[in-house]
């Protein structure tokens, strides 16, 4: 991580490029996960509005879906960090 800061302040072009690539990767990853999470909660609101009595059963499934979707960003993050450190 200190490389990120160094790259930004000391003009190391290679590190700067890696930093931009890492940020872009995470940014695009969160774009997809954001859409997915929005979808999950949107559908949840719709289902509860239609059938409020199913709320309890749906909540567990919703959080499961939320965590599975959210994890996608972190795969991107870990992949990015690995590439950043190893390359």
């Amino acid at each position: 991580m200190s490389n990120l800061v160094l790259a930004a302040t000391e003009g190391n072009v290679v590190d700067l490029g890696k930093a931009i690539a890492l940020a872009l990767g995470i940014g695009l990853g969160s774009l997809g996960a954001g859409i997915g999470i929005g979808n999950i909660f949107g559908s949840m609101i719709q289902s509860v509005a239609r059938q409020p009595e199913l709320r309890g059963e749906l909540t567990g499934i919703m959080w499961l879906g939320f965590a599975l979707t959210e994890a996608v960003v972190f795969y991107g993050l870990i992949g990015g960090l690995l590439a950043f450190v190893l390359v």
């Binding site: 991580m1 959080w63 499961l64 965590a67 994890a71 795969y75 993050l77």
Partner: protein, 286 residues
């Protein structure tokens, strides 16, 4: 409010270490050995993560015994109600969702304690504790540095937990269906020509479960701590006190988000997925 102050205080207490060249958030996740133990090629050294895990297991046992074992009455008091709610979530949301009815008796204790244990370690990670292994001087008194660190933000810990679930999955699968029946259930029902392509994918998928289960928890906790530390760290990296106006509220917001949502969700997810994996190995057709 108290937590907020503590949080700010914890990280601000690193300010006297201004002699260090640069503040680096990833430095918080290094694990120097405190008590070096090497058995052959195995590195069994005691470090920060190990101490947090000890503390976590003790607390988990304490929570379980105090909330669910001691002084139980027909009309529950406040303490017993909390215990019953935790048990209820573990029973209805985790075990019954994933495990087939006949396996609940055997595997409920595992998934329930997994949930409680991971929740406790995650929660410990957001409470400032004086076990960072660093010291600082305040008015000539030698004090330990208070810091936040979660054992689950180390890949070794989460991989060990995931490996347990993974091994149990296959043992249960073989035990319930026999070795032939279980490995046959990996072969999907498609035309024969497709099989050479799909069976390797299926086997790869089994290993991907291991990766996704461990990396999900690890990356969530790592990213959560990193976000908070980076926001506070901006004050020291850019050496401007006025940044605190932005950095402290932002860090507090992320702190609350992690404590309220992420900690519980990740514990729940890990237990629920463990239950689903074990359940799907016992009854492959589902």
């Amino acid at each position: 409010m108290k937590l907020l102050l503590l949080n700010a205080l914890t990280l601000a207490s690193e300010a006297p270490a201004g002699e260090e060249p640069k503040f680096d958030p990833s430095h918080e996740f290094e694990l120097p050995a405190w008590v070096s133990i090497h058995i052959g090629p195995l590195d069994m050294s005691i470090n920060k993560a190990v101490v947090y895990l000890w503390l976590g297991s003790l607390l988990t046992m304490a929570i379980g015994i105090l909330l669910m074992r001691v002084r139980l009455r027909v009309t529950p008091d406040r303490r017993q109600t909390i215990g019953e709610q935790i048990y209820d979530i573990a029973q209805t949301q985790v075990a019954e969702q994933g495990l087939p009815t006949k396996a609940i008796g055997r595997w409920f204790p595992y998934v329930a304690s997994l949930m409680l244990f991971i929740w406790t370690i995650n929660m410990l990670g957001f409470i400032p504790l004086p076990i960072t292994g660093e010291r600082f001087e305040l008015f000539g008194i030698d004090l330990p540095v208070w810091g936040i660190y979660a054992a689950t933000s180390s890949i070794s810990v989460t991989l060990a937990l995931a490996l347990m679930t993974w091994v149990f999955t296959h043992i249960e699968g073989v035990r319930a269906n026999g070795p032939v029946g279980y490995f046959k259930s990996w072969i999907p029902e498609v035309p024969k020509a497709m099989l050479p392509m799909l069976v390797p994918l299926e086997i790869l998928g089994q290993f991907m479960r291991l990766v996704s289960l461990s990396v999900r928890l690890f990356a969530n906790m790592l990213a959560g701590h990193m976000l908070i530390l980076t926001f506070i760290g901006l004050i020291f990296v850019l050496e401007s006190v006025f940044l605190a106006v932005v950095a402290v509220p932002a860090a507090t917001a992320f702190y609350l988000f992690e404590v309220v949502i992420v900690v519980s969700i990740q514990a729940f997810i890990f237990a629920a997925l463990s239950a689903i994996y074990i359940g799907s190995a016992i009854e492959p057709d589902h």
